[in-house]
């Protein structure tokens, strides 16, 4: 395999995991814009989406598109419930308390998933056969193509949502200036609610897309959530475009790093994301694309 085709191989596998990071990063940014807090339970939405979809496919024998949809709906509801039950009462407490509360939520979701699905890993078949395509010596997983394609669709959908839907427009207004939006009659409480629901949906989508590549288990959310978070910071917390760019960049950098690292260093793969995070925090903490003016209470 030539160096060129090796590099291409790494870049493509990096892009597909990067798309997933991007979706997760979006989830973080949306909640951050509406509430000013970092939702440490974001990764668990991803996990729930994956596991729910696998259950629906397996036990209920639903066809894939239906399982996809149902799983997203279920996790959206869970996210909304989380906001209503756990976090609404803490709205007046400081940002610190809210962050810790989201950590508590993630523990509950993770523990609950462990009780429901057990600790085993479960596999999901890729969306379509054949599993791989061979283009000039480079092997591409067809699932990667699905991930990238559906992520693009989601992005377009989000844009339409922000520009045409009432709720979407309200969310965009809140992201730009929360006080101003409230003065215009947009309820901040409603915005928080919708932001959680939307993040849940995005997280679930990410989980279902990655499950055929990644293998799902009750604890898959932690690392994915953290990496998505790194992507959000790198791109600029609060910026949608930043989240996407950060996610893709992180995925590709990770794959290239593992690919070209000296032998035996591949175990440092996860350290890449966090190393990049620290670098960005030290040099340009507002992220590559800068953070929105809205910084919370």
């Amino acid at each position: 395999m030539t160096l060129w085709s090796q590099t291409l191989q790494f870049v493509i596998s990096g892009l597909s995991i990067g798309a997933v990071y991007a979706l997760i990063a979006l989830g973080f940014s949306i909640i951050y814009n509406a509430t000013g807090i970092v939702n440490f339970a974001q990764g668990e939405f991803v996990m729930l989406g994956a596991l729910a979809a696998i259950s629906l496919l397996g036990a209920a024998h639903l066809p894939l598109p239906l399982a996809f949809l149902c799983s997203v709906v279920v996790v959206t509801v869970v996210a909304a419930l989380v906001e209503r039950i756990a976090l609404r009462r803490l709205r007046t407490a400081g940002v610190l308390v809210l962050i810790i509360a989201t950590v508590g939520v993630s523990m509950v979701l993770r523990g609950g998933a462990m009780l429901v699905w057990g600790k085993d890993h479960v596999a999901m078949r890729p969306f379509s056969a054949p599993e791989t395509l061979n283009l000039g010596g480079v092997t591409i997983l067809t699932q990667s193509l699905w991930v990238i394609a559906i992520t693009l669709v989601v992005m377009v959908g989000l844009q339409l949502f922000y520009t045409h839907a009432q709720v979407g427009k309200a969310m965009r207004a809140t992201a730009i200036n929360r006080e101003g939006a409230a003065l215009m009659g947009i309820s901040p409480d409603a915005m928080v609610f919708w932001s959680f629901a939307l993040s849940g949906a995005l997280g679930a989508t990410a989980g279902i897309l990655i499950a055929p590549i990644h293998m799902a288990a009750y604890n898959m959310g932690t690392m994915l959530g953290l990496k998505g978070f790194c992507a959000a910071i790198v791109g600029g917390l609060g910026s949608s475009v930043g989240g996407i760019a950060g996610g893709l960049a992180l995925g590709v950098l990770e794959a290239l790093g593992v690919g070209f690292a000296p032998a035996g260093c591949s175990g440092y793969r996860d350290a890449f994301a966090f190393g990049v995070l620290l670098l960005v925090l030290f040099i340009r903490p507002t992220g590559i694309l800068g953070v929105r003016a809205n910084r919370g209470t």
Partner: protein, 310 residues
């Protein structure tokens, strides 16, 4: 002052009241966790910042002590200050750029740092022993008397807890402490009064890391083994935060209470099995909602309310 005396007496008498070394062993771990919790409490309660990677500083302390005593044969008493110094130094490196900024950048930085330390411990085999860890770490001995029983170690650990408490009290009541409280109330007002916010926060962060490093060192000599395990990972960083929240942010005694409750509860829940993660999370949220100022304040106000009822 009377309260202090009572607690000190309780602590000193405990090993003789407990039935056997198993319980003393638990008390030793409570003490080690308390040292970290006291430092973290200063950071969270007084400086208003959270560290989501504090287990990494424990790891730094533990591994430094372990490596120096097993590889170079350095005396454990000399290795310990080195461990504390290293933890402090690295905390300074992380804190300087991130504490300058407004917001929770420190939380994010400590998160990333904690994960990196976990991975490095695992991967850098020649230094850390990798996944097999380092074994046969020597025990501490005080003036020729080897601290080879849990009871003897217990007194050393709790002496350190007492010292940490003293340090905390002094800081809180000192100029730095007043500056901290000012910052916590209003950063703008504090700045106008000439308080160097960033430096104050940095000092507290470094101190909290130093205490964690000390605890790590004590842990290594207690277990005589360090490896990439639970105590050095992300999960434990969260457990530490839970300890401080349980006890109550900005109550210094609260840190010890929190450490005690969480450690003992954890050992007890061991028998309950897998439900502990979910239960922990639920308890944490309930506490935040109903007793946001922690167990100590919550119980105090509860008893006050009960006493008011005729």
């Amino acid at each position: 002052m009377v309260a202090v005396g009572v607690v000190a007496a309780l602590v000193a008498a405990l090993p003789f009241v407990l039935r056997n070394q198993y319980y003393v062993g638990i008390a030793v771990f409570v003490g080690i966790n308390a040292i970290v919790a006291i430092g973290l409490n200063l950071l969270m309660g007084y400086a208003g910042q959270v560290s989501l990677g504090h287990a990494a500083f424990i790891a730094l302390g533990a591994y430094t002590s372990a490596i120096l005593t097993t590889r170079t044969g350095l005396s454990p008493w000399l290795a310990m200050p080195v461990a504390v110094a290293l933890a402090s130094l690295i905390a300074a490196v992380i804190g300087v750029p991130t504490l300058r900024l407004h917001g929770h950048y420190l939380a994010m930085a400590t998160l990333g740092f904690g994960m990196i330390v976990s991975i490095v411990i695992n991967e850098w085999v020649s230094l850390t022993g990798g996944t097999s860890g380092l074994v046969d770490i020597p025990r501490l001995s005080l003036a020729g008397l080897a601290l080879d029983s849990d009871t003897k170690y217990y007194y050393l650990v709790w002496a350190c807890v007492a010292a940490s408490l003293l340090l905390s009290f002094n800081i809180v009541n000192s100029r730095v402490g007043r500056a901290l409280r000012a910052v916590h109330t209003s950063e703008v007002a504090a700045a106008t009064c000439g308080v160097n916010i960033a430096r104050t926060k940095l000092q507290v962060f470094v101190l909290s890391a130093a205490l964690a490093g000390l605890a790590g060192s004590l842990y290594a000599h207690q277990l005589q083994f360090v490896g990439p395990g639970h105590t050095f990972g992300f999960g434990f960083s969260i457990e530490l935060v839970v300890m401080v929240v349980f006890g109550g942010l900005a109550t210094i005694w609260g840190a010890i209470v929190g450490a005690g409750v969480v450690t003992v509860l954890g050992e007890y829940l061991r028998r309950v099995g897998d439900r502990d993660v979910a239960v922990f999370g639920i308890v944490l949220i309930l506490l935040l909602v109903f007793m946001p100022r922690g167990l100590v304040h919550g119980l105090a106000s509860l008893t006050r309310r009960l006493r008011r009822e005729p």
